[in-house]
């Protein structure tokens, strides 16, 4: 669903880019806050000035918890990038690939997950011409902000409602299905706002194809999360999540 250059008009691209930038900024500040608290504060109490200097020089990312989290981001983002290359056939003449938004949001937490998917989209656009540069903001808005950040809270709400392993699976399934579907709905909205194609035509077409891709996404997301949990890569704890 990577939009190429030319499909959106400048005002729609710019609007989506501003919205995406706002959410990414918020995510960045949340992650920075979560990663820079653990050690420096404790160190400051014991060490005063020396620790302050060290903290400043290291741009506040100093704890081994932070290092661990960044390694996790590196590994999971690599895996999702790779998985996105794998196009599977949906029906005669159409293919789809995993988005990975819910995998990223659950394993890394919604804030880091959104940043990881955005980084993937950035590289896809810059180095692989997968998604146009001028519509990068729209692609990040659809797949990272809607397909990752917003969709995480579908999972979160269902998980709160049904507090069991079953609730977890239902949450993952529904959230990952809707992550793809909602991203495609927003993509259709942007196409119609840009005057490329009327909404009445593009919305049913986009939604019906991506409902099928979303179903595949839901099963694959459960599979990937189960695999990651089997090698002890678990859901991110409270620090990064709230």
């Amino acid at each position: 669903m990577h939009i190429p250059n030319g499909f959106l008009d400048p005002k729609t691209s710019a609007g989506a880019a501003f919205a995406a930038a706002g959410v990414l900024g918020y995510c960045l500040s949340k992650v920075r806050q979560a990663l820079s608290h653990a050690v420096p504060e404790a160190a400051l109490v014991t060490a005063g000035n020396i620790a302050t200097n060290i903290t400043k020089r290291s741009k506040k990312i100093v704890s081994s918890m932070a290092e661990n989290h960044l390694m996790k981001m590196a590994a999971v983002a690599s895996l999702i990038f790779s998985a996105q290359m794998f196009n599977f056939p949906i029906d005669n003449g159409t293919s789809g690939h995993i988005l990975g938004g819910i995998v990223a949001a659950i394993i890394l937490g919604p804030f880091s997950g959104t940043l990881a998917i955005s980084a993937i989209l950035f590289y896809q656009s810059f180095f692989f011409a997968d998604g146009g540069l001028t519509v990068l903001g729209a692609n990040i808005f659809n797949m990272a902000v809607i397909g990752t950040f917003a969709s995480y809270y579908i999972y979160y709400a269902i998980n709160r409602l049904i507090k069991s392993k079953v609730g977890y699976f239902i949450g993952v399934f529904i959230a990952s299905f809707f992550s793809v579907l909602l991203a495609s709905v927003f993509c259709a909205l942007e196409l119609s706002i840009s005057g490329t194609i009327p909404l009445s035509k593009v919305l049913p077409a986009m939604a019906s194809i991506h409902a099928r891709i979303g179903l595949a996404e839901a099963f694959l997301t459960i599979l990937v999360l189960e695999f990651l949990s089997s090698i002890n890569i678990e859901r991110e704890g409270k620090v990064i999540n709230e």
Binding site: A42, K72, L79, S95, S125, F127, F128
Partner: protein, 100 residues
Amino acid sequence: MNKKFIGVFLLALILAVVAGLFASSKPDGLEKVAQSMRFESKAVPSTAPFTDYLVKGITNPSASTVVAGIVGILLIFFTFKSISRSRHIGELIKNLFKIE
């Protein structure tokens, strides 16, 4: 502790090889809609070093995609890895103040 992350990174590399060999080259959902509703021609091709996950100069399409994929994985992995390069500072603080 970091071994499992290296494992996932290696798995990503393997998956890139599999994707290069077996991935479907059929149009994706949006491309298909654009084709059937005839607004496909509005797309402006963008230029990038590895357009369509192909490396210029490698004529075998599978091999070309595999190499492009591996480059992408390395870029992404080391982007995040490099932010965590402050490891030694973390170690220093731990040793200095006996934290953890």
